[in-house]
Symmetry: C2
Subunit: 618 residues, 2 copies
């Protein structure tokens, strides 16, 4: 008798699941199930009504009718060059447009997000507990029939199969947007200030302040900052190589670095970020910003001879924050956008009303920012070619070649194609695997759910997604339903949208997160953005006139040409000779040593959290 009851119960469980699994609530309304039998759709603020928020109000109809689609906007911004030449040269037109861009983009990011980590509903913890990233869409409910809710197959494809079929690079293809490798290395250095995934606990745990705080230069927390400061005239510590300034060596500071013992002593540079020993490319950008910091300190001191070390340091840090945002918006994001319209950094655009000067990192942003496919199979430094692995824990190429030659080399070499599948180099293929796994651990909603959230047309066929037949057919076989395709898979395999690097979704989602983060910096507040904050008008003008090339010119000897776009005639090199294989073998030993190093699981896909940073309260 007792046994039969057990059977009954089991049967019931196997047929009951959270009715929100089927995502019945339309138009971004919130689904809750009070009793696991029925569901309620909360239509507040959606502009729709009805049991499933399916009926638009008249005002919603009109708005939808007026609002141009994402693809129309994109078409306009990337065509009609002569119109844009005019707009770019008429200050108020350029400003007005940027204001519109910001209003549209920033408003699509909810801050503070009601969802944090794996939580599926608003709570005080979601607001206050910053040991985790937030998220844009709540997770798929637990115990649904399929990983994406009710759509697709009960099991997701094996990650190794996905990597092999859709991610692994067959032949290197140069980036059709002519991106140079200077670009991904800028990205790598820049993003490590706000993507600080906890290396022990993994996603969604993190240990940063989730905004453009330049912690990759100044260190996270005041203790590390002071370890890196010279405490004289605001400057940071430096070491000298052939008379040129480089970051300080490990014997000059108590600040720790992950795996620094893997490097020869003369190359043991110390950075704001604990994990930057890994690649010499961190050394490049760290050195540029370090030199710029100390140069700005001189300027501030010149303008304000009575100011003390502390005030010069703090002021220079704010100046560098402004310069970073300027270069990121007007050079870096500009390159990404492919727009004829020239994007603008002008804090006055967010100084009306009560704009929020706070930021949060969304797991969706972290995952879409996996652009490792940009890495070619090898890179040339100073006439010598290095595979990716050979560069690990190896600052020699940069130090020996010097910054001038390095910047020239990187500006002249092609980055790889990202969008469209089969673009991940062997050295970073595991990173894509980890991203897929993260998405599953986070129970992320489907790629199409995100297309809808960011007001794009959902795909109805796999062919529409990839823009070709072969991968589409394979995906169809593996996922069964276009609504069951995983977030990261869709982001990476979506067909490229010309003239950009990525597919439509990556750009349409990345742009709001990015602009929100850049424009939400406190220096943009009207009571901060003024000459006195930066040590005077002359120095504020430095921020306003900074761009990639001018930054390089004033920090690198000989003012080398620097560009995120390769020049005409630039070539790229395919892996071939035996030396590469030999080098790979050497560096494999290094990696193995790094992997096994005590309390340091640090890989270049992850961030190092030193033991000295206290765990925040959970």
């Amino acid at each position: 008798f007792q046994q039969s009851i057990i059977v009954c119960t089991t049967l019931t469980i196997s047929w009951t699941y959270d009715p929100c699994c089927s995502f019945p609530c339309q138009h971004q309304s919130v689904c809750t199930s009070p009793d696991m039998i029925s569901y309620q759709c909360d239509c507040t603020g959606t502009g729709y009504y009805g049991d499933e928020c399916q009926h638009p109000y008249l005002s919603t109809r009109i708005k939808k009718w007026i609002k141009p689609s994402k693809s129309t906007t994109h078409y306009i911004l990337t065509h009609f060059k002569w119109v844009w030449t005019i707009v770019n040269n008429v200050s108020w037109l350029r400003k007005t447009l940027m204001k519109a861009v910001l209003a549209m983009r920033v408003s699509s990011v909810t801050e503070p997000s009601p969802y944090r980590g794996l939580s599926s509903y608003p709570s005080w913890s979601a607001y206050i507990n910053d040991t985790m990233y937030v998220r844009t869409l709540p997770p798929v409910p637990t115990n649904c029939p399929t990983p994406m809710g009710v759509k697709g197959k009960p099991e997701l494809p094996e990650i190794s199969v996905l990597l092999e079929k859709f991610f692994k690079r067959r032949t290197f293809q140069p980036c059709p947007q002519r991106t140079s490798v200077l670009f991904p290395f800028f990205a790598q250095h820049f993003t490590h200030m706000f993507f600080k995934t906890d290396p022990m606990k993994g996603m969604p745990y993190q240990w940063g302040d989730q905004l453009v705080d330049l912690s990759q230069i100044y260190g996270h927390g005041e203790k590390r900052q002071h370890e890196l400061r010279s405490h004289v005239n605001g400057k940071l510590k430096v070491s000298l190589v052939d008379g040129h300034e480089f970051p300080p060596l490990s014997n000059q500071t108590t600040a720790n670095m992950s795996n620094i013992n893997l490097l020869p002593q003369e190359y043991q540079f110390v950075f704001g970020h604990q994990g930057f020993s890994l690649m010499p490319t961190f050394l490049i950008w760290s050195t540029i910003w370090l030199r710029e910091h100390n140069r700005i300190c001189d300027l501030i001191k010149e303008e304000n001879p009575a100011w003390d070390d502390e005030r010069i340091f703090q002021t220079a840090r704010l100046v560098l924050t402004g310069e970073t945002i300027k270069v990121v918006i007007e050079d870096y994001v500009q390159h990404l956008s492919g727009f004829h319209y020239k994007l603008l950094y002008d804090p006055e655009l967010v100084q009306g009303g009560s704009h929020s000067f706070h930021n949060q990192i969304h797991v969706e942003f972290q995952l879409l920012y996996h652009w490792h496919a940009l890495m070619p199979d090898q890179i040339e430094f100073n006439g010598k070619s290095y595979t990716m692995k050979r560069l690990l824990f190896n600052p020699e190429p940069v130090v020996k070649g010097g910054l001038k030659r390095t910047i020239e080399d990187l500006s002249n070499q092609w980055a790889g194609q990202v969008a469209g599948g089969k673009t991940q180099g062997a050295a970073t293929l595991h990173v894509a695997g980890l991203a897929i796994k993260n998405g599953r651990d986070l129970r992320m909603q489907s790629f199409n759910a995100y297309k809808e959230k960011f007001e794009m047309k959902k795909y109805t066929t796999f062919q529409e997604l990839t823009g070709e037949e072969e991968m589409a057919a394979e995906l169809q076989k593996l996922y069964g339903d276009i609504d069951a395709v995983e977030y990261y898979i869709g982001i990476m395999l979506e067909k490229r949208r010309s003239p950009q690097l990525f597919g439509e979704t990556l750009t349409e989602m990345g742009s709001p997160y990015s602009l929100k983060g850049l424009y939400s910096n406190p220096i943009n507040h009207k009571d901060w953005w003024k000459p006195s904050t930066f040590g005077g008008q002359k120095i504020m003008d430095v921020i306003k006139n900074t761009n990639l090339q001018s930054l390089i010119c004033r920090t690198v000897e000989g003012c080398p040409h620097a560009s995120f776009t390769v020049p005409d005639g630039a070539t790229y090199r395919l892996p071939s000779d035996k030396q590469d294989v030999e080098n790979d073998r050497t560096s494999a030993i290094l990696i193995e040593r790094a992997r096994n190093a005590d309390a340091n699981k640090y890989m270049w896909t992850q961030d190092a959290k030193p033991n000295s940073i206290p765990d925040k309260e959970l």
Copy 2:
């Protein structure tokens, strides 16, 4: 020869000071001195130009001409009752006006503030280092000729003299606004969630999250929260006294309380805030909110039978946050305002644009919130009179009398007059002394500087400030210059502005800080403020319909009358009989014991920070 140089240098120093000491920059422009000889005024955003930002632009002239003065606005809001009856009853009019009030008030608080702690310039630390309160005006530069810059005497009056002459209460005067003692005890309980001055380091150090987070109920941090939770159906732990719910006793939880050993075991209640053993008045409001939390949990469970403990708890916490804000704006601030216009809590008012859902506590706000003069010399509980000291560490009057009788008692007793001087009861006189000292340690600018900052007319005479002759003459003698009167002195001695409790400045400054804090809560964000966040429409309606009386009715047996205003015929009692003296002697011993208790300097003017809360990184 060398000696003569030293003499020269010394002479120079004694005559040189920061030129910003004289506050030469007008209209809130920023003064910086690059060389300690000259100064620069940064006019950005002030609407003025010129070396000292003294000349208004035409647009500024027009704006100034159109904008009604603070006193005109106040006059309108507190007169023409029949007009306001109409406004209050026409929903869109009431809303429109509240929107205008918010736009005006909230915009006058800079968030994030460029100034934190003792720092006088914007810095990344000012933004990120939340171990300190922020401030509205930067400190007076160091090494100025006088404590207020260049105005006034080189030494400030002795604090003991100020207390004796201007603060010490001679005879108890009832609050002219008919405030009941229920009001200050509500304030006392409410404000301890965001005024969390570090009890060891003192001002400006603090250990809270600087906003309406209900940490006085749920504890600061997740560890304490869990110690207070029953982990069944979302509810908090309770103890039972005569069948009524009270907070849990110390043997029911591991959460620690400061000085709890001073209480008999049966009264060792444990609260969200570690310092709440001090006064039985904390017990009153803690018990009310505790009962409300558990009641709301029942409602949520009823509406959502499938929800687990965690979701019910988190949801109930958000509901209580909404109820708190509702009562604070519509009952508490309403009482303070004296307006005929009925203030409104409606989150939709801040849901357009990108309002900031973040808050910071300004030292100015903390200092002006010292309303201890509201305390009468003794309070009657259940027919028995208690001096303030006799109430310390003594929950018996509340527990024995029961909540019903207590609420009735407190609603019927007069609070004391605050404004106008000589209003501080003996038991809290030292609090005023500490506030004056804090202001000096913080090198706060003068009272008149704050009047100007908040767009009020500066006082030109002492008579204008106090509205009488006697104190004015004494102040004149002690300070010499009206522009040298200290912030806290001005705030407290300013003549009362009828029909309010306080002087013009306290209200005009307190209101923006307060409304910013209340309306910046994340629950007001459009993606949070919806029925699903609170467990359904029925429960959201509970928030919308909550007021002081309804809150009391549903949590206190027998629904006692509760009011922040005393009824006609209420009396008050002057200290007289011997019993008071006797009792004082007993409690003096208790206080002494508390003072000497290890690692607990806790007094009712300060907040307890338990040893278990880790020091944040400095």
